[in-house]
Point group: C2
Chain length 334, copies 2
DNA sequence: TTGTACGCGTTATCAC
DNA sequence: GTGATAACGCGTACAA
């Protein structure tokens, strides 16, 4: 801790600037003095104080990463993406969990700025409009992953949720299903809303008229999934397949099916969304839609870095494709 | 970004020292000038550069958190504990994922030190002996969560794995089981080894002689769990219950049971370990051992902060209790 | 090729 | 009660 650039300058009998030069691999430094310096560095076990360096360079090489809930099952994969990519660009990441509290989010942004981070990645958040506007005004680099707040145009990594919903029903249709239910988080979340639209589009294309009783809405939880599926099962004519807007709800749906003495996929087919780790742990393994979360995280830091280089908000929106993962929870009808 | 303490000093027509005083809520500052300063701060939207402050104070108020695998299902809960507790102590956390690579771990430690973190929390790691020794020599605050490396005595938050194994069999015994299998990670992991010892202790106390064929070893994965259970099921006389050293293996075991056309807990009872989120998602819900991961994370930062205050390694070891969570995967025998 | 001196934004010491 | 000023550890013009 104690050994500074001055110590090694003294030890190598050169000036601090010379040491600085070899540290930063500048040209124009005599081979011999360079050697003396590196030896001194070795000998004293010196490593530069990056914080001090950041102070003069006006750059910390750290980025902030704010999530509303670290326990969200999508988080680990996303986080791995951002941490790994950040590292490969020479950045470290400082982490905050807001616990879904907007006030905390605001504090976190402030704190991160005080800590001189070079940019911030926000994910899953409902995005505090005013805060974002402020950041934008300051030309502070920010990118959002997942959620898009339309009001404050800010760089965003988004998912093709519409295509996602479409893909799910299309597959079900191809497998011969005609009566397809949908468990949705409804209009409360934009992603749910978009997936619903994709679902309707798929049905439209197949000339299947929209049937409101097949759409049931609940919050994103196992229990809600179970309850939604129970309602679907109680219909006078129950669906042969259902697309759940999220794996967690799909897992909940599994339970309702079992409780009703039915089985998957023999009696009813299910497709989920997100390809969470648990989707391969349940039986039958869940057919679902992969969102490539790691890639989203990587794209997030790439975009952030691009924005930092530009020195101003880019207002880009990158929309990523999803992928149907076929496993065991859907049966072909004939 | 641009507005500094000097700007607000000028704007309030006072010296920077005065501004600094009100910033740090020092006494001996006239109410009126204080007001002028706070107004200026408000007006210019100033917030102090914590990095610069850290430079003079020799304290960054950030701690490093290194994990070998962010995808580890135990990670989120642990991380929430450390992040939340760190925050409540005024610390931010800088995060690294080593991907199980010791070289990367070493780099991360170096980098974190260069970034002037005030301390480091290592978790789940196999602990690079030399690195730890070095840190200890420098009196750099470090605490490990979970893994204990005996050679280099370093402060550690550990789990009572022995008690854990004991608790599991004891419960099974109480439920009337006598022929109890054990799926273990074996001697490769210290935790597995200790749980195994707890298991044997429980059996001993019940005067049940140790039967080697009931112990089967594999790595910690779903597949290995399935394979291990398959072997247990193929025994001439199969166990009526099995304790799996980890929930993931327990889930794997579920599959082997189903594949064999048997059911849980009617034909065979299972208890897992760790109380992962997925343990309530499977059917039947898994009876398991909770390790209170969040509390471990909190205890980790508490210990780290204690060590930072002490200014030297404390070499403390705190061992935490585990708790049996009774759900649906164990049947009472009679 | 190398050294001197200043500045990055802040706090602490010491005058006044 | 308030203001200069020297650090903190480093990079970089500029001078030598």
């Amino acid at each position: 801790m104690a050994v500074t650039i001055r110590d090694i300058a003294k030890h190598a009998k050169v000036s601090v600037s010379t040491v600085s030069r070899v540290l930063n691999e500048k040209p124009d430094v005599n081979e011999e003095t360079k050697k003396r310096v590196t030896e001194a560095i070795e000998e004293l076990g010196y490593s530069p104080n990056i914080v001090a360096r950041g102070l003069v360079l006006q750059k910390s090489n750290v980025i902030g990463f704010i999530v509303p809930d670290i326990m969200n099952p999508s988080f680990p994969e996303l986080a791995r993406g951002v941490v790994a990519r950040a590292k490969s660009h020479g950045y470290s990441v400082m982490f905050f969990d807001t616990n879904h509290d907007k006030r905390v989010e605001k504090e976190a942004i402030r704190l991160l700025q005080s800590k001189q981070v070079d940019g911030i990645i926000l994910s899953f958040n409902q995005a505090n409009k005013e805060e974002l506007e402020k950041l934008k005004l300051e030309k502070f680099p920010v990118v959002q992953i997942y959620r898009k707040s339309d009001e404050s145009a800010i760089s965003t990594i988004a998912l093709d949720n519409f295509g996602s919903g479409y893909k799910a029903v299309k597959y079900l249709l191809d497998m011969g299903h005609r009566r397809i239910g949908h468990i949705t988080t409804g209009n409360h979340s934009q992603s749910g809303y978009e997936r619903l639209k994709g679902y309707r589009k798929g049905l439209d294309e197949a000339d299947i008229s929209y049937n409101e009783e097949l759409i049931v809405e609940g919050e994103n939880s196992v229990e809600a999934g179970t309850e939604c599926m129970r309602m679907l099962l109680n219909l006078s004519e129950r669906p042969t397949a259902v697309f759940a807007s999220h794996d967690v709800m799909a897992i909940g749906a599994y339970e309702a099916v079992y409780n009703a003495g039915l089985s998957i996929p023999e009696d009813i087919s299910i497709v989920g969304h997100d390809n969470l780790p648990l989707s391969v742990l349940v039986r039958p393994k869940l057919t679902t839609i992969d969102t490539h979360k790691r890639r989203l995280g990587e794209a997030g830091v790439d975009l952030l870095i691009e924005e930092m280089a530009a020195g101003q908000p880019l207002n880009k929106e990158e929309v990523f494709d999803t992928e149907l993962i076929i496993r065991e929870s859907v049966k072909a009808l004939r």
